[in-house]
Symmetry: C2
């Protein structure tokens, strides 16, 4: 496959769809994911293994994983909240498992009713589960440090705590940590500072990705800051679906289409074809009637004479 510089990891089928009232039919999810892959998207977070009673939008995740696994070259990622979810993810054959660990313990207790210690035990159990699998069935295991840039409940969070939890997550058996701006609080200086602090503590190869929100319009500036210093994976959601839309045009998640334009315009390769991305976007819009689909670049169009790398 063609070499890429930046992995744009599409989280719309999980982070986007789980926040909508309406439930996208399984066949539509599968078609959307196929169109994303056809556009050149290399990694998609296709769903989340949570109880259907909590998130009925994600009840078909095993089926969606099964479909996504048939697409050559696609890394199939899922979110899990706990060991039970990880067991289902392993059973389904996911290539990558992510579990969120909230740096704000207040947020963690409120959100998943678990302390840091309890979460780290869960992470350790998942790592053991994965290690017990035959090599070809071992998913890559990442811990996403959520509220890493601040918390709506606690306010600023300690950078030293972020670093400490990163170290503990790796010690508990995660292959990698990610930094998540769950609240849209991050600024570019903070992104650079925090990434470097975590690198100093766990090594560069243990932190490759950021998950940024656009709540205050800073998403792409923060992504640029991260990529400038060497971050190579940036999460984004097609049409900016998901997250907490406060304002017209404000999405929780970075808009995939605008991020791909940013990266490609700078001459860095995503492997993603813009026309293909628009086909996936059009399909998504049709499959989610009444849901607002964001994104500046698709509306404005590519610049005259613009060439994908």
């Amino acid at each position: 496959m063609e070499q890429i510089d930046i992995l744009v990891s599409e989280v719309g089928p999980r982070d986007g769809l789980q926040s909508l009232q309406q439930i996208m039919p399984t066949a539509a999810k599968c078609e959307w994911i196929s169109l994303l892959a056809a556009a050149g998207v290399r990694e998609v977070e296709v769903g989340s293994f949570v109880p259907a009673s909590v998130l009925p939008q994600m009840a078909d995740t095993a089926e969606v994983v099964a479909h996504a696994k048939t697409i050559p070259g696609l890394d199939v990622a899922v979110l899990v909240p706990n060991l039970r979810g990880a067991e289902n993810a392993v059973k389904a054959g996911a290539d990558k498992i992510s579990i969120p660990l909230s740096v704000s313990e207040t947020h963690s207790l409120k959100n998943v009713r678990r302390s840091h210690t309890q979460m780290l035990e869960e992470i350790h159990s998942i790592a053991e589960l994965i290690a017990a699998q035959p090599a070809e069935r071992r998913p890559y295991f990442e811990v996403g440090l959520s509220t890493a840039f601040g918390c709506t409940l606690e306010g600023p969070v300690s950078e030293e705590l972020v670093v400490r939890l990163a170290v503990l997550a790796i010690e508990a058996g995660a292959a990698e940590v990610g930094l998540s701006d769950t609240t849209g609080y991050a600024n570019p200086a903070q992104v650079r500072r925090l990434v470097k602090k975590v690198w100093d503590a766990v090594g560069r190869e243990r932190l490759n990705g950021v998950h940024l929100h656009n709540t205050r319009g800073q998403g792409l500036a923060n992504a640029l800051a991260a990529m400038d210093i060497g971050i190579t994976t940036v999460d984004a959601s097609m049409g900016g679906i998901g997250g907490c839309p406060f304002a017209p045009g404000a999405s929780g998640n970075i808009v995939t289409e605008d991020l791909v334009f940013l990266v490609e315009a700078m001459g860095l390769r995503t492997g993603i074809d813009f026309d293909g991305l628009l086909r996936a976007r059009n399909y998504l819009a049709g499959a989610l009637p009444g849901v607002e689909i964001f994104g500046f670049t698709p509306e404005a169009g590519l610049p005259r004479g613009f060439q994908n790398t």
Copy 2:
């Protein structure tokens, strides 16, 4: 006055209002500008000296300049399209005069019906006019290189042409040049490259500012790129009014409120107080019934525990 790191130059009263159908009454413009200054905004482009037949929204620019001049510490900037406009600007007592020079000659011919040579002659005449004034009445004279990052008519523009026109504008008597992404085509790599090329040709002190659009959602990322390498003046428009809004939430101009948040969150000083900015925004919204006012940060609110520098 308190030292600042980044000058956020407010262009809403000119660039924003001139693009609206409705005409804001003179008293409302004056009150809005007073509120902007009260929030700590140091420079406002208050209007444009163009024939009222062309832009009736700007017919009262002399009166608005007269009011703005009474505000202590405020730099009062105006746009002029030609020598005639500059004469009026000097008469009105503007502190700063900007004239756009389009790098795309196709755009220049279509927009102001003048070739590069004709525009450079106009710039030379304006410089002579300014030099002939008594020292205390000489406005600062800037040439804004528009379509510097690409043109909707020509497509990509030559960076060597941008540099050549910058040199010629300085030789013709401009104190400074600025780079304008009129079309929203710019990307951060290009911003850094082009600023450095112009610096190499005319000296750093001759290029301090950029005027960026958010048409493809890249405005703040481009502003960050510019500030990272040492650009100290960034234009923005309150509520993102003006420019070419293609998409919901898409403004032509960078939103002042989001830019101020970006800069202050990084620990750089704008001298601008966010509460004061919101008062000016609320006034603006009330004075422009039916006009969509953009901005992510005002809708989402400042992060919990956030402190202005």
